[in-house]
């Protein structure tokens, strides 16, 4: 938390997004720490995915500023950048709520597409690659090695040559994370990575995300409804309701915040007994953070 305040990788200032008369996100400010897992939670329709789409450039915010700072000091104003430039230059990768894999391509090809920009340069923007330049072949071998590494990490090595559309749901979610990681991001945005996973799978997901954070030293930003994931791995939670930030802090602080309780349970705080709240906001609280 302390690191987040002094040197955040992502700083969102007064972000507002209006669609016609509807304010999906209103005056939202928060930061994400450089090596933290930041969770964005809130009831359905709270504007979480809108925030994601603003950060990754799929929406242009109506107002506000989104700043991403690289470790070397480079600053990127994401609200001014095209979506693909955010992924390419600012090094922000994302996954989607409804999985978006290249279903007709193999698992390995999905990961190779993710390394497009590096391979494009290695192939001399196609001109060298078409004549079979050695530098490109080397780069492609390296790309395959990186793909193999991530396939191994998400447990899909055996399925490398199968079409991505043939994978079971949980494996598709893991492949999407591996694909995002193949772009070698500094900030990984996950939109409901645990949706549709069974308890064992979401436990595996927790381990995967924690190890990604630890080994790659990158920041994670996630939207999640599964409280066992949110409370289990987050360092920092931002709670949205009707596009407004209602709480911001560590899992323990957020869990105890009356505003959060009101938003989730729709009752006055004095009527909400502490044990119901505890149940709603984190059966996972007993699980010790590794």
């Amino acid at each position: 938390m302390a690191a987040a305040d002094s040197d955040p990788i992502l700083r969102v200032d007064h972000l507002t997004m209006r669609f016609g008369g509807l304010t999906a996100v209103g005056d939202l400010s928060f930061t994400a720490g450089r090596n933290d897992i930041t969770a964005l939670i809130g009831p359905n329709g709270a504007g979480k995915t809108t925030v994601f789409n603003c950060i990754t450039g799929f929406y242009k915010p109506t107002e506000g500023m989104i700043t991403l700072r690289h470790p070397d000091g480079g600053e990127y104003l994401l609200e001014r950048m095209d979506d693909f430039r955010i992924a390419k230059h600012a090094k922000v990768a994302r996954t989607f709520q409804n999985i978006r894999l290249f279903a007709g391509m193999t698992v390995l090809e999905n990961l190779m597409v993710a390394q497009h920009n590096r391979l494009m340069i290695a192939s001399g923007y196609t001109f060298a690659g078409i004549f079979g330049a050695g530098s490109y072949r080397r780069a492609e071998r390296e790309a395959i090695e990186l793909s193999k590494f991530w396939l191994d990490r998400v447990g899909l090595s055996e399925r490398a040559d199968d079409p991505a559309g043939d994978l079971p749901y949980g494996a598709q979610r893991r492949l999407e994370i591996a694909r995002a990681m193949c772009t070698e991001p500094l900030l990984l945005c996950l939109d409901e990575p645990a949706a549709g996973l069974n308890p064992r799978e979401s436990e595996d997901l927790n381990r995967l995300l924690l190890s990604i954070r630890k080994e790659q030293g990158i920041a994670l930003l996630l939207i999640e409804h599964d409280m066992s994931v949110v409370m289990g791995i987050s360092d920092h939670i931002v709670v949205l309701d009707y596009g407004q930030k209602i709480s911001d802090g560590s899992p323990a602080e957020v869990r105890a915040d009356p505003a959060v309780i009101r938003a989730y349970l729709g009752v006055d705080e004095e009527e909400a007994p502490a044990d119901i709240v505890a149940e709603a906001l984190g059966a996972a609280q007993q699980e010790d953070r590794p």
Binding site: A103, M112, I144
Partner: protein
């Protein structure tokens, strides 16, 4: 093995009321279709038009349809197909042998100097020629099906891989056949011309396949790039090159203009690409269609530059790298000590288009395995995911348009030098439609499928010029050439009925770790434009 049978009436096979009702409905539908189309005919009388009514013909057609439906209801397609399922191999072999025999008989009676065969009347020969191939292909197909059944569902994926190996052998066999074609005895100029035409369409199909099959951008105006290539060569070689470089350049014009034509077509591809970047699906199709027409209308109306509807004639014929195909001491024949023959030029043209087509093939296959090609396919699968991975979809789309257009431009240049004459009439929408039909029938993204589809469609067009024997069995005044579009349309309907994803329905991965497994077309997206 009396399992579920298809037709509704066969649930209770002997319910006369249901059968009659079904037959009556069929007859009414047949009447509704044939009544206006066949029953009424306008004839010119003096200055006006009169309606000629032909209800007898309509009645005959309706009766044929109703009788066919009645027979299906009485005996059932289901029963027939389950019999075929059980005895596919036997029936297939009998049909194939019978078909082969019929083809042999028809050929032998017509031309081959086989001894002892009685002279068959022309009507019988005609029928044998029609029915023989149907029996042969039907039989071969049944044999194939029976083997496919034996393999069973479990081995389906293995069979898929096997067919991809067969596909490779088939492709190599086709290539060898294409290379030795000019030297096969009995191949005359007509066959060579047909070969050149087919290869032109194969090349155009491969070029369009980059845009439609790989990048998933539906382009209905591809012929525009063909036109740009053709007019580039026509204008540069007849007017501008002689002015700029003198007459001596003319023998080299084709080889010099070829890259320029490709470049100009690619430029037009980008010019088309920019406004349509944001369009998808139907909207993209309409705008590309309009673009194709715009180019044609400009060619017609810009009289000073393009010659308008008169076109451009006297376009230089290609030379053998500077040596013309003429009958004098500087000509190709004299230089290489051969006897002069006009077909030498045709054979050279054939090899030029074969080389151009192969260039298209190898470049495309190469590009597929490069990042740009993978990005094209990823774009077809999911554009938003592409952008989230940092892929510039704008430039990716533009490169697809440009490279596809470039090959169209090469083909256009070749077309101009082969014909010696270009006019806007050669670049109508129908050409775009045929090229797109070749790509779709072949199977989007499949290189081999495009070859087969081009041979089938272009071959079918030309075949109808040769069907003189049909005149013997058909009513007087029958002209087979008039029916060729009908037959091609029927073939398309049938292929789309049984192979909705085209002839070749699998995708070869561009990279693999252990084993190259083909991806079934069910998973491959068709692109949203």
């Amino acid at each position: 093995m009396v399992e579920k049978v298809g037709a509704a009436a066969t649930q209770n096979p002997l319910d006369p009321a249901a059968i009659l009702k079904d037959t009556a409905i069929t007859a009414v539908i047949a009447f509704a279709i044939f009544g206006p189309i066949v029953g009424l005919k306008t004839v010119a009388i003096g200055n006006g038009l009169a309606l000629e009514q032909r209800w007898g013909t309509v009645a005959a057609l309706v009766a044929i349809v109703a009788a066919g439906r009645l027979l299906i209801n009485l005996f059932g397609v289901g029963a027939a197909s389950s019999y075929l399922k059980l005895h596919a191999l036997r029936v297939g072999i009998i049909a194939a042998v019978a078909g082969a025999l019929m083809i042999f008989l028809s050929l032998a009676a017509g031309q081959l100097p086989v001894v002892g065969l009685p002279l068959l009347p022309p009507v019988v020969i005609a029928w044998l020629t029609i029915i023989g191939p149907i029996f042969l292909f039907g039989g071969v197909w049944l044999i194939y099906v029976s083997f496919a059944q034996k393999n069973g569902g479990a081995a389906a994926s293995k069979a898929l891989r096997d067919t991809s190996a067969y596909g490779r052998y088939f492709g190599i066999a086709l290539l060898i056949a294409a290379i030795i074609l000019p030297f096969i005895p009995g191949i005359d100029r007509r066959v060579m011309d047909l070969g050149i035409l087919m290869l032109t369409y194969v090349m155009l199909g491969w070029g369009l396949n980059i845009v439609v099959g790989l990048a998933g951008l539906l382009d209905l105006g591809y012929v525009a790039f063909y036109a740009v290539g053709a007019y580039s060569y026509a204008l540069l070689s007849t007017i501008y090159f002689p002015i700029w470089f003198g007459e001596g350049i003319i023998p080299w014009a084709f080889w010099l203009v070829l890259p320029i034509a490709g470049f100009l077509a690619a430029l037009w591809g980008i010019i088309l690409g920019f406004p349509v970047l944001r369009l998808r699906g139907d909207y993209l199709a309409i705008v590309t269609l309009a673009f194709g027409e715009i180019i044609r209308v400009i060619l017609i109306n810009w009289y000073d530059f393009t010659g308008g509807p008169n076109g451009i004639s006297d376009i230089p014929r290609p030379s053998f790298f500077g040596i013309p195909f003429t009958n004098d001491e500087n000509g190709f024949a004299a230089t290489f000590g051969l006897e002069y023959a006009p077909i030498q030029r045709i054979i050279f043209l054939y090899y030029v288009i074969l080389a151009l087509a192969l260039l298209t093939y190898f470049v495309t296959m190469r590009l597929r395995a490069l990042p740009v090609g993978r990005a094209w396919e990823a774009l077809r699968e999911d554009e938003i995911a592409c952008r989230s991975l940092g892929i510039n979809t704008t430039s990716t789309k533009l490169t697809a348009f440009a490279i596809g257009a470039m090959f169209g431009g090469f083909a256009g240049s070749f077309f101009a030098t082969r014909q010696g004459f270009v006019s806007p009439e050669s670049f109508v929408f129908m050409e775009s439609a045929i090229i797109l039909a070749i790509v779709v029938l072949g199977g989007l993204g499949s290189q081999l499928g495009v070859v087969v589809a081009a041979i089938v469609i272009i071959g079918a067009f030309e075949l109808f010029r040769e069907l003189d024997f049909l005149v013997a069995v058909m009513p007087a005044g029958f002209d087979p050439v008039q029916y060729r579009m009908l037959a091609v349309g029927l073939a398309m309907v049938l292929i789309m009925r049984w192979r909705p994803r085209g002839l070749v329905t699998r995708r070869e991965p561009t990279v693999y770790l252990k084993e190259k497994k083909a991806v079934s077309a069910d998973l491959v997206a068709q692109g949203h434009g």
